[in-house]
Amino acid sequence: MRVMVTGATAPLGAALVRALLATNRVELVLAVGREREPALPSDPRLLYRAVDLTRRRALHDLVWGEARSRGVEVVVHGIQHRRARDRGARIHAQNVETTRELVLACTAHPTIRRLVYRSFAEIYAVHHLASNVFDEEAPLDFAPSSPQWLRDRVEADLWVCAHLGGPLQIAVLRCAEIFAPGTGSQLWDYLQSRICLRPLGFDPMVNVLSLDDAVAAFAAAMHGSATGVFNIPGCDTLPLSRAITESRRADVPVPGPLLAPLYGLRHSATGLDFRYDMNFQRFHFGGVLDGTRARVALGYVPRTHVSWPRPWWLVLVEQLGADQNTRR
């Protein structure tokens, strides 16, 4: 199989490229990113191209030029902007226009037969009337007050879904929040504080996905032939308070109305990306993906637990303990 992976220098893309190269089922990986010198393994089956996919001509030339000449069959696409506070036309172009152009370019392509698109669990509408378990038919969040981060993801997801049933095989993977540094995870950022404030009286269930499981889901979707939308839940489903405890942080319930200004101040002081306004509903009502369809059609079952962030002193203690054991 010959595969093109966009966003190959982001944590998920890089992990996927490594996983693909570790198997014999892939003849070629055409990795696409923005960095000139990416930290990817050297392998004769790996071709890296630095391309700005927000430029329509560059995207077209890549898909109809190199991808065609190399006989790429499957495209894995996921280059959404990660920082939740950024906004503007360029971000929109990266999140939506690129996806639109890529789908159009792949639809009538002579060699590309399959597109695997990375979408997000955050696009499901969370509120007190919504279910605690989201299947693929659950309503999406169309609130006009949502931040661009979310609106772009809903738009791109719908755009890809609109092409389901056409000549191009499409699998949309709506992934639970990938809980790892650098992935744009809001929960990861939230848990970086020593003191985690949460709404008083609410302790919703959250579900997080490990990078390994995300890679496994994409690999399963690439190699399979199932098309449609698939929820990709993670192995860890737990109350928010328990996630805070697992991360060795102080869990401080605070009256809800105080949280937005407090986290606004935190952002001003530290520059961290967590937005309470974006997570308001999720921190009250929660919601967990139903992965039945992915299990049946893709054979995906979450297996790997996430690594909870540890405070520096605990990491130091653990390392010292490990060193002593090694010396013995």
Partner: protein
């Protein structure tokens, strides 16, 4: 002794879909439930002196639906029913009470209810529970039950049919349960309709500050298997008549239980 046995039965024997951290996907935590059951034991045994007949009608396994009448300012009747099911099923089955949509908006209450197994009553949630073969408890009267006047006690106030559709689709037997005592225990004096605290439909003003020690009687009816096959769930007429069948059965149970009781507080 009894309390520790119930604790053990709930924590160790009851079927529970642990997601890996001791909670299920809806937030149920069996240890919290077991502690609450132990704490509520004096209320169940001594205050309301719950007397229960026919709990053996509850299926031991597989999806099933308990359908009960509803009354009282707060859902004390629901709590007594759930306690009774936990104590009288062998092995213990954790009933998943289906709550109205405003409940998740209530601070503290929403979290407490989730830990005890209460689930927000959306179709997807209920489908998920039945898929897993759980026992659910539904009050088809909804808010209209607790909101009724004292003069209307033990008269069914409205009858949603969603439970019948689900019962047919999942081939889940429906067990009607008459709850006697809740109406007199905590009657409603009036309700402030313009006040919607945390999304509640009205603010209840009870006739007494705490529930009165009315004698609770629970009567379980025989299980009803509704419809002939799952496809019948799409037929609105069949669903409506199936729901009506359960309603009549429940009304008969209520009438019988009221005739048999010796008095409200005795």
């Amino acid at each position: 002794m009894m309390a520790s046995t119930t604790f053990k039965r709930i924590v160790q024997e009851a079927a529970f879909f642990d997601e890996g951290y001791g909670f299920d996907v809806f937030g149920l935590h069996p240890r919290s439930l077991a502690l609450s059951v132990a704490a509520a034991r004096p209320i169940y045994e001594s205050y309301f002196r719950v007397d229960s007949v026919g709990a053996e009608a509850i299926p031991r396994e597989g999806p099933a639906i308990l359908v009960a009448n509803h009354a009282g300012v707060l859902p004390v009747d629901g709590a007594m029913l759930c306690l009774d099911v936990l104590r009288r099923t062998e092995p213990a089955r954790i009933p998943r009470a289906i709550a109205d949509h405003f409940v998740p908006r209530l601070p503290l209450v929403s979290t407490l209810f989730a830990r005890l197994g209460v689930v927000n009553g959306t179709p997807a949630n209920v489908r998920c529970l039945l898929d897993r073969g759980e026992l659910i408890a539904i009050w088809p009267e909804g808010v209209a039950g607790p909101a009724k006047r004292f003069a209307d006690r033990y008269r069914i106030q409205g009858w949603r049919v969603g439970f019948a559709e689900l019962a047919i689709r999942y081939r889940a037997p429906v067990v009607p349960v008459a709850i006697i005592g809740a109406e007199e225990s905590w009657p409603l004096l009036t309700k402030l309709r313009g006040t919607h605290v945390f999304g509640s439909p009205y603010l209840p003003i009870p006739a007494s500050p705490i529930p009165l020690p009315a004698h609770y009687h629970l009567r379980y009816g025989m299980p009803h298997v509704l419809g002939h096959d799952s496809a019948d769930a799409s037929d609105p007429d069949l669903v409506a008549s199936a729901a009506l069948e359960v309603r009549y059965a429940l009304e008969r149970l209520i009438d019988d239980a009221r005739r048999e009781r010796r008095g409200v507080f005795r």
